[in-house]
Amino acid sequence: MDKAAIIGVGMTSIEGNKVRDTFADMAWEAVNKALDDAGMNINDIDNVITTSNDFWDGRTISCMAVGDASGAAHKNVSCVEGDGTFGAFYGLTRALSGSYGTTLVTAHTKGSQSVSSLITNAAFDPIYERSLGMDMISACAMQANAYMNRTGITSEQLALVSVKNHGNAKKNPLSQMPLDITVNDVLKSEMISDPLHKLDCSPVSDACCAIIIANEERAAKHKGKPVWIKGVSFCSDAFFFGDRDLSRAPALEQAAKKAYAMAGIKNPMKEIDTAEVYDAFTYQELMWLEGLGLCADGESGRLLEKGEFAIDGRLPVNASGGLLSGHPVIAAGLIRIAEIVKQLRGEAGKYQTKNPKTGVAHGVNGLCGQSHCVWVLGKDK
């Protein structure tokens, strides 16, 4: 792959209900923050990718409705439906195409404006499945059960992910749910769908994130600290749950393997310094860490108990507080990328991890991690 870098990131705060902002208002804020961060103005942007979901936005062709506020008027703008990491992947390929030196990528959601159970129920097959009434939570609960049954990972270990990430959020001013909680608090919170308690689940959230990707030539002119895209890949599994082994994430394993190969990483357990993974539910942080090859299969719970994934641990995971502390669907993965960029620049403030050189950001699309996108980012070219 030719070289490319992320030269600007911007995001709104993550909140439970941004009553004062429309989608476009959020995009305006995030885009201007990214431009300020990059020391650029909108004329320096060669093309724009917006990322959204029509069902969540309550309108058709939702991606085009935020174009103006994203500075896309009179520019080449294209759209991705799904998680922001996939929008960024498309943005990267455009920056590498030779046609554009820079791509602005945005991703937004307001979970607060709809009913997430009904929205995610609509992701099920309308003929064979939808009328049963499952949604993202019951589907992921089923996956959690399958994963725990296979690996022996415990509810206490799941709860510890919640304790860690809500605790990390206390250091992140943009996070929605900083909490001082104990494992017992998680286990005593309402059982929503076995084995997932309320505090095993991420909240409903609103936010927008924007990043600016530049090809090597344009990144070289950049005055700030470019963060280099060392490897990136995505891979998808079958649509029907029953075609998959829900307790495993082979699509993630493949995506990670390819991304590491591109980045020249031979031993991710040793070479990755910090990670932001898609922790929509507690079990997902553990399951995805194993899928990413950042610890051995079934070992994540034990390593978590040893403190290895804490901000000052061997491999800090979701130092920002993760999605458990604020989960704007669609923007979620792009925020993971932006957080790793901050970490590698040494600009993560109170949740800065110790001198990371290489980080992994991870996004998910589809129910129970049908599709995974893995980004390996580096401080050095």
Partner: protein, 163 residues
């Protein structure tokens, strides 16, 4: 850059109740089931039979049946009648009455691998107390009295042995 603008807006917003536009997206929509699902759903309705489609290339038997094999990328051509018994691969007990759930909670959802099939299907489990649910338990399909040609023509799956 946006800060100055926001300061102006802040004044305008002060003390004003945020306006909300209430709406409901409700668009009539007909999902034509297509040849494959139609044959399957008719089997449930008219014969109380659960049918799966087999790929003659790799030998995998798919349920829910679909026209093509995702592995071989060829049409699935061989219909197979399944017995209606199977094994619970995973399950959850929905406890909170979330908006998508039409039954009264607790509702047990399970991924059931039917005997003779290579993939599993989603459905309800009833006739067992939630606390006794286990991965690996044997279940069998219970058909609805009143069948309309939908996936709900299987009323639920129940444990094979009395629990």
């Amino acid at each position: 850059m946006g800060t100055k603008d926001n300061a102006v807006l802040d004044q305008g917003f002060d003390g004003i109740e945020p306006m909300v536009f209430e709406s409901q997206i409700s668009v009539p929509y007909s999902w034509w089931a297509g040849d494959t699902a139609t044959y399957f759903l008719k089997g449930l309705r008219d014969e109380k039979k659960i049918r799966a489609l087999k790929c003659t290339s790799c030998g995998k038997t798919y349920i829910p049946p679909r026209k093509t094999c995702p592995v071989c990328f060829v049409p699935n051509t061989e219909w197979k009648d399944l017995s209606g018994t199977g094994t619970v691969q995973s399950f959850t007990i929905a406890r909170r009455q979330l908006a998508a759930i039409s039954k009264k909670v607790p509702v047990i959802y399970a991924l059931i691998k039917l005997d003779g099939a290579d993939t599993a299907m989603l459905h309800y489990i009833e006739g067992i107390s939630p606390e006794k649910m286990k991965i690996g338990m044997k279940v069998q399909a219970e058909f609805a009295e009143d069948r309309k040609g939908t996936i709900q023509d299987i009323a639920f799956f129940k444990p094979v042995k009395e629990v």
